[in-house]
Structures are given as C-alpha cells and as structure tokens.
C-alpha cells in the first residue's frame, strides 16, 4: 500500500465522526511518525478543509510533527513537581549520555508527581529516577 492509499484509508475510517480531524492526525502521526505537507493535502481534501486550516491545527499541537524523527525518544518530565524532586540536576548528564542517538524530550507532567522524577518511553513509565536509573534508560533506549 502506498503512503497516499494508507492516508485515504485513515481518513475514511473516521468518516462520519463529529470533529474527525484530531483522531485522523493521531493515526497519521502514529503510522508515519509525522504529518508532512503531503499528508496535510490528502487530509484537507478528504475533510473538505483548506490546507492552511489543516496545517494550522498540525502546527498548534506538540504531538504532531512535520518531520519524522526515527530516534528513540525519552520523554522526561520537567514540571514543578519533578523539579521539586531534583530532575533539573539530572538533565545535563542525560543529554550528554543521549548525544545524537537518543532524543530527550521535555514534557510537562506525566501524572506521577508524588514519585518523580518521572519519564516515559512509549507507554512504558518510569518513576523515582535517580542519575543511575535515568542513564540506564538512556543507554537501553
């Protein structure tokens, strides 16, 4: 199946739903790792929207990206509760260990605020991280 066929299929799967754009974008992001301009065009056609409208939505939300990044990503929480438990002191070491191979992405809150510092890799959660545990996550990512 070509990329465009897959896109058309995703759009068709959400036809008839109220406000289908976000569910479509989530599916496209997870299938292709990004929502690129070509995908925006197909989605805009399917929903009878302008490309500008679709692009406006894609660029608004942090979860949608214009380019795919194949590197493994560690989402590290750096919100207040994790700051209070010392996440800032771990960031530099984690970024150094990650280098160009792993992406350390900042998120604000994973809902594990009583057991921070916390991180997420996909749907795998990690809490009570110290320097050693975080570095191990980076190395095994």
């Amino acid at each position: 199946m070509t990329g465009e066929e897959r896109l058309t299929e995703i759009c068709a799967a959400h036809r008839g739903r109220e406000g289908p754009l976000l569910p479509i974008l989530h599916d496209v992001q997870s299938a292709f790792g990004c929502v690129d301009p070509a995908a925006e065009r197909v989605i805009a056609n399917a929903l009878n929207l302008s490309r500008a409208e679709v692009h406006g939505v894609v660029s608004f939300y942090h979860d949608f990206t214009a380019e795919a990044d194949p590197r493994p990503a560690i989402e590290l929480c750096r919100a207040e509760a994790c700051q209070a438990r010392g996440v800032e002191a771990l960031v530099e070491a984690a970024e150094h260990a990650a280098g160009e191979r792993v992406r350390i992405k900042t998120v604000y809150c994973l809902g594990l605020c009583s057991a921070g510092p916390a991180a997420r890799i996909g749907s795998q959660l990690h809490a009570r991280l110290d320097r050693a545990a975080l570095l191990e996550l980076v190395q095994s990512a």
Partner: protein, 507 residues
C-alpha cells in the same frame, strides 16, 4: 491458594508493579490487579487478606508470603493515611478491579444512575444544587447551576463533555479515577446526560495518559448497554496544556486549533458545535453518583465548610515524604496536610514553599500554612485551590528560577490568541532574567525613539525592573482571555513577595 492484590495504576506500573505481580504468579499465587489505594510512597503495594506490604521489590516476594517481611504496614484500611480520609469520590480506591462490572455493581455502582433515571430533570438538578457541589477543575462554579442552564437552553442536540485534560503539575486525581474506577466517571456522565437531555458525551483525555485512555475505552465498551441511550466516546488530546481550558478544549474536540474562545457565549448556551454543552471536570462528574443516592445530597452537603461543600481529593506531590491521594472534607489546613499527613519533605530538609493549584497557583510561604482548604480563603490570600494539587519544595528551591519557569511555561503553552499572555509571558521571562542577572543591557533602541514618550530613556534600575514586572503581571492578570495568562502572575507575584532574596534583592 493465596490471592494477592496489586495495583495496575500507572504509578504502580512505573514503580515496577508488573514485575512483582509476575513474581507472585510464579510463586503459585492468584494475582488480582486492582486500583491504587493512593499511598504512592508505598507502591508497589502488595495486599494479602487486607494486610499490606510496601514498597516491595522482587526480592521481597518470598518473605511476604512467609509473613516475615519487615515491609509490613499492617491492615491497609487502618493505616493512618487511609483512616484519616473521608473518601466519597474515591470510595473504591484500592478495593476493586477497575474493569470488573461485577466489582462495580457489588460496591454500589449504578445505584445513583438508577435513582437519577426515576427523577424528573428539575428534581435531579435540585439535588445537585442542594449538595453544594462546585466545579473541581479549578473555577469552583456550582455544578447544579451549570446543568440547570444547559437543561433550560434551547437546542436540538446537547452534549456532556468531561474535561480530563489534567495538565497541572502536581495533580493526578483524574488519572487515578479514570484508571482505577472508570465506570464511576461514566455513571456520573450518564446522570448528567439524563439531567440535561443530552445523547452524546465526550471524554477529552490528554495524550500523556495512555493507560487511562485504554481503561476508559475498554470500560465504555463494557458499559455501553448500561448507559444507553446515552453514548460516550474518548477523545485524545495532543499535548497542548491550554486545552484544559474549557473553550479551548471544545475547539480541540471540534478539530480546530486549541485556541480559547471569548465568553460569552458560555459553553452552556453555545458549546460544542454551537450546541448547549455541560463541560465538567472528571472529579465533578465522579462526585455525582454519590450525591444521587438516597440522601446523598444532604450527606455531601454535611461535609466541608462555608461555601466549599463536600470532599476534595487532594494530591500531595513533589518533595513530600508521604505523597499520594488524600480525599477529605474542605476545611483542613495546609500545615496538617504537609506535616501531619505528608510527613514533611522527602529529602528531610525544611519546607521552603508550597505551590497549590498547579503551575498557575501561588507559592505559599510556611507562615501561611494555617490557611484552610476553602475556595474563598485561598482567593482571599491571592492563591487558588485549582485542581487540589499540592507541590512541596524544600529549602534548596530557587524561587526566582521557579518564577521564571512560570513565565516560560506560559510562553510555551500560550494559545496565542490574546496579547497579554502571548507577548507578556515572553517579556516576563526576559524581565526576570534581567532582574536576576542584573545584566547591564543596553538601552532598548525602540524605547529610545522620540515617539515613545512614556518609555524610560535610561537603563532601568533594579527597582524599576521590579515595578515593571508588577505592571506586566497586572496587565496579564486582568487583560488575558483565560486562566493561563490570567493566573500566571500568581506564582510570579507570590514568589517575588515572599522570597525577594531569590530575585537578587539582598545583594
């Protein structure tokens, strides 16, 4: 065969509950995955016949089964952290399997909905008003009045929207409820739907909560026939904090940019797709099934103080020894919460500051710890309860840096619709940097232009910069469209007021 109960809440999983569960299965036990009791410092918590052990590791399994482990906390229900609570919304926490309809029905599930369906809409709403329930998302608007407005609004379609975009740092009650007791939320939504005559509901969950999304989707399939003709669907957010603001959330549900709408029109009149919409927080909707029980409204109203009625699931987080979920009636002091219940800081150092109400909440100084948990008491102290999250900081915290972070966060998450929030937050970061660094910046070339009559022509002094920050905060507070820009000054101003030394005042 021994039955072992271990939570499958996201926090327990993050602490390694799955590995412990596997170890007990390997040891020949039956393992039941239940919701979390909310004693997060003890996770993974293992329960056998009502007694608990925690926090456990794989190495502790044999000793627990032999009853020789020193991790024993005795009977869980008698633990001081649990015994001191008044759990209405979280009555099932730790006790039931989240996706078991049998467990839910056996613990009084669906009784509120059954009784609600026998009541006429005005009587049902009157009970919600009588209970004194106020919106738990932060604004504290009376839930019954909102429902009444939607019920009376003309419209062919009406919607129930559950705001589960719990983005505030230090809050996790919505997540725990959705993961631990999803039917409870669904029941609350079905009651709201009956009250206002809505046929369709949406639960808008943030994408950072994959476990909650999975549980809710599964629960909705299981409960489909029980809540019919009401239909409900989970929608997933996309990483925008501002979508926790109700009008921005509605735009997001419609498939638009999550920009805030001007009010009026209120969502109760023109909400989702322009139709009358009830939009309530998870905790508000989850309080409803209890209220609709026989005598439930009066029971709920008997808790709390003054105009803050009922119970609040308070979340103890950050640098705290005993963090977790503590549901209690309004009226408890911050001192009791932090020291008596929370046990002080996790690091063992003195408490320096406490932020109540998420990233937009004020930092409270230990001198203010006698403040009682009450919507009005907090607003009188220029603070807010918000969603009930409490984040504790020890004396290593740099309040100037945290004030800067508040502005930085606002700049990153601003929807961009109104100027005070979009521009003010960025100028705020720059200004706090100047104040803290005392950097000698050259005079602003724009400010030096002849037509800029009101701009200072000299380099601003430290005090002038502080005055400018005050002015900026005032503009943001009163000029922003929504709470993001409007409340960001709370953490900034409170930090500046109580800890001026962290802004370079002493040097």
């Amino acid at each position: 065969m021994t039955t072992v109960r271990i939570s499958d809440d996201a926090l327990a999983l993050a602490c390694g509950a799955d590995v412990i569960a596997e170890a007990f299965v390997a040891a020949g036990c039956t393992v039941e995955r239940v919701s979390s009791w909310g004693m997060h410092w003890l996770e993974p918590l293992v329960e056998i016949d009502g007694s608990g052990w925690g926090p456990t590791g794989v190495d502790d399994v044999a000793a627990i089964l032999a009853k020789t482990s020193d991790l024993s906390i005795g009977t869980i229900a008698d633990h001081p952290f649990i015994a001191a609570q008044q759990r209405l919304t979280f009555a099932r926490a730790g006790k039931t399997r989240p996706l078991s309809l049998d467990d839910y029905a056996a613990t009084g599930g669906w009784a509120g909905l059954k009784r609600a369906r026998m009541l006429a809409s005005p009587d049902l709403i009157a009970e919600v008003i009588q209970s004194g329930l106020r919106g738990r998302g932060g604004a504290g608007f009376p839930a019954g009045i909102k429902w009444q407005t939607v019920a009376a609004a003309p419209g062919t379609r009406k919607y129930i929207v559950c705001n589960a975009d719990e983005g505030d740092s230090g809050t996790f009650a919505d997540r725990m409820l959705m993961e631990g007791d999803p039917f409870h939320l669904i029941e609350g939504m079905a009651i709201a739907a009956h009250a206002v005559g809505a046929a369709q509901g949406y639960i808008y969950v943030r994408s950072e909560y994959p476990h909650a999304i999975a549980k809710l989707k599964a629960a909705l399939v299981l409960a489909e026939a029980l809540i019919a003709p009401f239909r409900c669907e989970v929608r997933v957010g996309a990483g925008a904090y501002v979508c926790g603001e109700e009008t921005s959330l509605l735009n997001s549900l419609e498939g638009k940019r999550g920009e805030v709408r001007a009010k009026p029109p209120l969502p109760a009149h023109q909400g989702l797709f322009g139709q009358p919409t009830v939009i309530n927080n998870v905790l508000t909707l989850a309080a409803v099934p209890h209220i609709l029980l026989e005598g439930g409204a009066a029971h709920y109203d008997s808790h709390g103080i003054l105009r803050s009625k009922g119970t609040m699931p308070i979340q103890l987080a950050g640098n705290i020894k005993h963090g977790g979920l503590f549901e209690t009636a309004f009226g408890i002091t911050l001192r009791e919460l932090i020291y008596d219940i929370g046990g002080g800081t996790f690091s063992g150092r003195p408490v320096k500051a406490v932020q109540v109400g998420g990233p937009l909440g004020a930092y409270l100084h230990p001198d203010q710890f006698d403040i009682v948990f009450d919507y009005e008491a907090y607003s009188a102290a220029d603070a807010l309860i918000g969603h009930g999250g409490i984040v504790v900081f020890d004396d290593t915290a740099d309040m100037g840096k945290l004030a800067r972070f508040a502005m930085e966060f606002c700049a990153a998450e601003s929807c961009g619709k109104c100027t005070p929030c979009r521009i003010g937050s960025t100028r705020g970061v720059e200004l706090i940097d100047r104040i803290r660094g005392r950097a000698q910046t050259s005079a602003d070339p724009v400010a030096a232009l002849p037509q800029m009559h009101n701009a200072a022509k000299h380099l601003r002094t430290h005090d002038e910069n502080l005055q400018l920050l005050e002015d900026l905060c005032e503009t943001m507070q009163y000029g922003s469209l929504c709470a993001l820009g409007g409340f960001t000054p709370y953490p900034v101003r409170s930090a500046l007021k109580h800890w001026p030394e962290d802004f370079g005042a002493s040097s």
